[in-house]
Symmetry: C2
């Protein structure tokens, strides 16, 4: 384990157990560079919020204080406002999660983005040493939350149809054989982050059956489900089961991440405990942010906006895929997402995506190396490429730069043999800032 072992830290012997291993990534420092305007960032998971009608949104936000300040500027209740929970149920009903399946405002808990939803589920179910089964690769923030609960993550491989059911069965068997307890399957079935693949229709039922048979809860994370470019995605897992599935989502990708509003639809018996856990953590979600999302869903043409996000992202995905095809050296390959924000690429044999980061940044292109998306050090040959934030021309320029860095790595390899590899993988949680929130996005000149 790399780390800052020599740092003066008077507090070391006072920390809780769960703090061990919380070390900052050296990559984080590198990424300070990535926020410079001359760098094309294919890192981050930022939606293109400049596509929002900012004048109308601004007008709406101003009125929330002017007309309703006594409530929007005040404390609220821990579960979140009933108004927003009702709107959330309407949103979920669009993908088939409706009242017939027991989805009700009473069982929705509003959270600080999807991240707090994950953290609450982790707090509720994970004791130190418990196992979470998750796709490999998976969302870096989920790894952070599971690690904070001192749980162990066992990865299950995916192919172009998503999670492989046989691999899931094998993982469950392996965990049981090791005498450990798997508490839930954590899955992003639709337009997966970072892999960009989608669990196929026939596999959805299979996965649910496997989990039921094994007595495994399912934590379904669905931030991207409404961002499909080629028709609707298969219905969420929660739309197929009344019980046993936690459904997590967020308005960060369908509206804007700046308000930090997400939610959990929890099994009824669990919902109250989620609220109590959330209160201990944040007291209550922001009344103003909740009012903003409620007003957006009530008074603005949000489905039109979603359509506009989809069109913008489809163009950008196409720009990314086309230029990867044109420019990347032989031996590289990548996924072809039907929605969402990310492409998962694999470098030619023997190249190390993390070791390559400094060279890429020198060449003014940023990406997130693959190791951050695994709990076990896998992913050295991988990189995650974001296509939601940068304009198509910038994306093409970014791929041009990236391809030339990869070419250089390949020629170094042919001259010197194996190229330098970085040390052991960083603790995944330390990549969180880089991979999702940062680097702070710069205004795009290209649009």
């Amino acid at each position: 384990m790399t780390g800052s072992g020599t740092t003066l830290d008077d507090y070391t012997d006072r920390y809780a157990q769960r703090v061990r291993g919380m070390t900052a990534s050296e990559i984080r420092a590198l990424f300070a560079v990535a926020s410079r305007p001359e760098v094309v960032s294919l890192a981050g998971g930022a939606p293109y919020v400049s596509a929002l009608p900012l004048d109308a949104v601004g007008e709406m936000l101003g009125r929330l204080a002017l007309d309703h300040g006594a409530t929007t500027l005040q404390y609220g209740i821990g579960q979140g406002t009933l108004e927003l929970r009702e709107r959330i149920c309407e949103v979920m009903a669009l993908s088939g999660i409706d009242g017939d399946l027991g989805a009700s405002p009473e069982d929705v808990v509003v959270t600080v983005g999807g991240q707090q939803a994950l953290d609450l589920v982790a707090r509720l179910f994970l004791d130190p040493g418990d196992v979470v089964i998750a796709e490999g690769p998976t969302y870096v923030g989920a790894l952070g939350a599971f690690q904070a609960a001192q749980a162990e993550v066992v990865h299950v491989a995916m192919d172009d149809d998503g999670l492989i059911p046989e691999a899931l069965e094998a993982a469950i068997t392996q965990v049981a054989a090791a005498g450990k307890r798997a508490k839930f399957l954590y899955t992003i079935p639709t337009y997966q982050n970072p892999a960009g693949v989608t669990l196929s229709e026939p596999r959805r039922e299979r996965v649910l059956e496997i989990c039921e048979r094994a007595g495994l809860l399912v934590v379904e994370d669905d931030p991207y489900g409404q961002l499909g470019f080629e028709g609707d995605a298969p219905a969420p897992l929660r739309a197929r089961r009344r019980d046993g599935v936690f459904y997590l989502s967020t308005f960060s990708k369908t509206f804007a991440p700046g308000f930090r509003v997400g939610w959990v639809l929890a099994p009824h018996a669990v919902r109250e405990k989620l609220v109590i856990a959330s209160e201990a953590q944040i007291l209550c979600p922001s009344a103003y942010a909740q009012a903003a999302v409620t007003a957006y869903l009530t008074s603005m043409p949000w489905r039109e906006q979603l359509k506009s996000y989809r069109e913008i992202y489809r163009d950008r995905r196409d720009a990314l895929l086309d230029s990867l095809t044109q420019l990347m050296p032989e031996g590289s390959h990548w996924t072809r997402p039907a929605g969402g924000l990310f492409v998962w690429a694999t470098l030619p044999d023997g190249l190390d995506a993390k070791a390559m980061v400094p060279r890429a940044l020198s060449a003014r292109v940023a990406y997130v190396p693959g190791t951050g998306f695994y709990a076990d050090g896998d992913g050295t040959a991988n990189l995650r490429l974001n296509f939601s934030f940068s304009a198509p021309d910038r994306i093409r320029e970014g791929v041009r730069r990236l391809a030339s860095v990869v070419e250089q790595e390949l020629s170094m390899r042919s001259v010197f043999g194996a190229v330098h590899r970085g040390g052991a993988p960083d603790d995944p949680v330390t990549l969180l800032d880089v991979a999702e929130a940062g680097p702070p996005p710069q205004p795009e000149s290209g649009r």
Copy 2:
């Protein structure tokens, strides 16, 4: 332990250890009643946000999206924006926590209100079974955060000059003698919640010395320090020490709670771990909320507003104290806060404040019973009365109703002997919603 032992809950055997004891209070249900307009609420900890210039605030909030939407609606970094952290340092410098004492934007972590600040400190330092020393009574939300970390709270008594140093020394000795490890002193030295008392000038140095000698960190929670009615409060503990003190505060009482913006000023060595822990929990604080607070501190006369809050609250405190003096039956007593939001009252001998809640609500007055502010079941004779939210006339009417309920309890006692007591105290965290965030405030007709 009272609780919902007979509830059908398929998930019971899957929960993490830390979930045990998370049961909802029966009081919470009662308090749904307290949000009705006919009830005078002396419960809650809501500031009087209607005193804000809502037109100017609304205008400011609208512009944040219109002029800066590309950043305010976007993700930010886990630590919080540099702009806000710089303003926070200016705010702290007003109470003597300045650069000479090592206070720098680099060591500030922006949080989701003061509650997340508490929870982060708890996560960083508390293993199951560790001890926190805290005033008795203390902030119910702190108890919730410490309990979620499975820590034990040992209370230290206060008098009118705040925490009693000798009692602190005794508590430290007692914890050590029990072979347990106290990790920190949690204290609200100024205008304490719920007691309303302030740690005197001479005691501040004493308390710091005792903690230093015992190798105990200090977690200083200071949400109310700028809300003094009788001149400035004694300087915070952090203004007297460079190291060993975590300083926590929030804009919930000085601006508005609806944005959920608080902060920790942490010792340098610890700050990075706080950021990593916060990222695992919420990814990043709301960019929009941070921009709102930054704009408020930059472009609006916030010190004038603070003066206005102080004047309003002083009038309301006076209304509360005067009517308590005039109306409460003999044998009751209460504190006389020089600032903040709360008065702590004690009922005549033998009365039980929690058992009295249903009768008080029938008489259309609400308060928070004292047991919620103790980890150990103490506080049965106590109630916390809030004076920040309701207008003076409403406060007087509330005390009139409260006094008559107490009179009735006393006459019941003289007829039937000891009055009915409730069951064992509820788990403190379950009172959080009631005590701080809820019941949802109603517009005041009286003002």
